[in-house]
Structure formats: structure tokens, C-alpha cells
């Protein structure tokens, strides 16, 4: 699936929006856009449209198709979401058979067993 979504064939991208930002913000935005294989313009537009969708208080039926598109785009390129690659990593962690508890984890469990679950301690339910 392509991350880059084109404008509708009936629309042209004729209007322009200029924004000012700090060099640090610009670098961050450019880096995020590069990661997703998008131009800075497409990246900012997608993120802004996704925000519009999230802040929309109510939604008329006529607006739903557009909202769906914004939802889809927000799930794809919003800075608030993981990239597809990172999502794959997260899902792999979730669905993978877990590794054995690490030595540090075993040590912590033993300490808990001894200290909290011992005769004198207690746990909350």
C-alpha cells in the first residue's frame, strides 16, 4: 500500500499555505517525512487533515466519506502514530512467543516472593 495519497482527480493543488517554524521543528518534520517517504508538503497536509478530523466536534453524514479518508490518512502518516514498520515490530512483540524472563526479571520476582509474598508481607487485590 502506498503511503502517498494523491489529491482527487477533480481537484488541483493550486492553493498555498506558508508557515514559519524553528530550525529544530523543521528538522524534525523533514526527518519524519523522509521516514515515511513523503514530501514535507504531503506530510504536513496529511497531519493537518488528520488533526482536523480528530478535532471535529460533530460529523454530518455528508462529511463521512471525507472523514474516512482523513482517518485513513491519519492512521498512515500522523506523527502521533507509529510508522508501519514500527507497528510491525510492536505486533511482532505482541504475538510472538515470549522470551524467557530475563535474569533481572527473575531476580525481581524472587525479591517480590521473599519480601511481599513472604509470611509477613501482603498484596492488594
Amino acid at each position: 500500500m502506498s503511503l502517498k495519497r494523491e489529491a482527487s482527480p477533480t481537484e488541483t493543488k493550486a492553493d498555498r499555505i506558508y508557515i514559519r517554524c524553528t530550525p529544530r521543528h523543521k528538522e524534525k518534520i523533514e526527518s519524519a517525512a523522509r521516514t515515511l517517504g513523503l514530501s514535507v508538503s504531503d506530510y504536513l497536509l496529511s497531519a493537518a487533515l488528520a488533526t482536523v478530523e480528530e478535532m471535529r466536534p460533530t460529523e454530518t453524514r455528508a462529511e463521512k466519506a471525507e472523514a474516512s479518508e482523513a482517518l485513513r490518512e491519519s492512521a498512515t502518516v500522523s506523527t502521533e502514530r507509529l510508522s508501519p514498520i514500527d507497528t510491525k515490530r510492536l505486533l511482532a512483540q505482541i504475538f510472538a512467543q515470549p522470551d524467557e524472563p530475563t535474569p533481572r526479571m527473575r531476580q525481581a520476582i524472587q525479591h517480590y516472593n521473599r519480601t511481599i509474598l513472604g509470611k509477613r508481607g501482603g498484596i492488594s487485590e
Binding site: 527473575r106 519480601t115 492488594s124
Partner: protein
């Protein structure tokens, strides 16, 4: 933001009797000092308020033999806060075109309001370990270990009822290595955001002698 668990130490003789319970009025939040001002502040100003609003739950570690504080309350040895959370993902972007189109069409077939935002396709439910800290008086006593294990235990209990794919947290810089030692793995392109799957947590908690 979670403080790193402290290094474990061998149990010494004469260990205090420790127990966990939900934060309550008899706990002295005012005298808690972990060394990170904002974690002290959160406990003193936010914890009760947010628990009353059912936004999150704060558990405290206390000692049975501890003398009352100058305020006549139970001293807090450490605390952690759990919240319901979501891991925002691009899962939806991984779906085949026709599947995604069908899902969006199904959503749009409903009259207002939409029943959902395609969750869990765009968001994976998790338990968020928001804060974890122990009083600086307890440095080197392994209380961080106890707090983390109890947090994982409470998260696992919650997951039995509502489902949660794991525990995630945002560690401090120094905490990143320690949480990695516990099996947490970084994920995403955010700084120090870490995750441990519920499967892995269950595997570890199976070692508890409940």
C-alpha cells in the same frame, strides 16, 4: 515518566514488613521525596484527584512497622500509577486495500455517531505504567523491583477483564537500560517508549509463589 527501578540488593536481616495498597487518605503524600520533583508533585497534587475521577490508579508501597509521619499518616515508601492506554499504530495501513475499504464502508453504514474509530485497528489497548518511584530513603533496597513486579501483576489482573496487549511506559534516560534488563523493548520512533507484552508478563509472573 517512570523512574528506574533501583538496583536489587540481597535481603538483609530484619527486613520491614512491606505491603501494597491503593493510595488512600491515610497515606502521607506530602512527605514523599523520590528525588524527582515532578514525581513528588504528581503524587501530592494529581494522584487523589485523578483516582477520584477514575482516570488512573495509584498504588503505594508501605511498611507495617513504620511510625506515623509528622502529619500523623502512613509514610509512602514508593508508588506507581497505572492507566488504561492505547498504543497508537499504523496497523490499519498494513491491511489489504479491499479489507480496509470494506471496514470503512461498514463503519460508514452506521448512522451517527460512528460506533468506533476503527479501533482496535488503529489503536492497540495496553496498560500504561505512568509513574513509578520510590522514596529516596529507600535507595538500594530493591523497592523499585517490588514496585515494578506489583505494577505488572496489577496490569495482568486488569488484562483478564478488559484485555490489554502489554504494558508500556516512557522511561527516563537512565531507566531505559534497566527496563531493557527486565525484558522491556523500545518501540516506535519516540524517545524511550518501551513495551513488554502481556504474554511475557504472564511468563514472568508464573514464577510468583502465590
Amino acid at each position: 515518566m517512570s523512574d528506574p527501578p533501583v538496583e536489587d540488593t540481597a535481603a538483609s536481616t530484619g527486613e520491614p514488613t512491606l505491603y501494597f495498597e491503593l493510595l488512600a487518605d491515610h497515606h502521607d503524600v506530602a512527605t514523599f521525596r523520590c528525588g524527582a520533583t515532578f514525581l513528588d508533585w504528581l503524587l501530592q497534587h494529581d494522584a487523589h484527584l485523578l483516582a477520584d475521577a477514575d482516570v488512573n490508579r495509584t498504588f503505594v508501597l508501605a511498611e507495617r512497622e513504620a511510625a506515623a509521619t509528622e502529619n500523623g499518616k502512613t509514610p509512602i515508601e514508593g508508588y506507581f500509577t497505572l492507566e488504561a492506554g492505547v498504543a497508537p499504530t499504523a496497523f490499519v495501513s498494513l491491511l489489504p486495500e479491499d479489507t480496509l475499504s470494506a471496514l470503512i464502508a461498514a463503519r460508514d453504514a452506521f448512522s451517527t455517531p460512528p460506533p468506533c474509530r476503527l479501533s482496535p485497528l488503529t489503536e492497540i489497548p495496553v496498560v500504561y505504567l505512568a509513574y513509578l518511584a520510590r522514596d529516596r530513603r529507600n535507595r538500594g533496597r530493591g523497592y523499585g523491583d517490588l514496585l515494578l513486579i506489583e505494577a505488572l501483576r496489577q496490569a495482568e489482573l486488569a488484562s483478564r477483564h478488559i484485555g490489554a496487549a502489554g504494558v508500556f511506559l516512557v522511561s527516563t534516560g537512565e531507566g531505559e537500560r534497566l527496563y531493557t534488563d527486565y525484558g522491556f523493548r523500545p518501540y516506535g520512533d519516540y524517545d524511550r517508549k518501551m513495551f513488554l507484552s502481556m504474554r511475557a508478563i504472564r511468563e514472568a509472573l508464573a514464577l510468583l509463589t502465590l
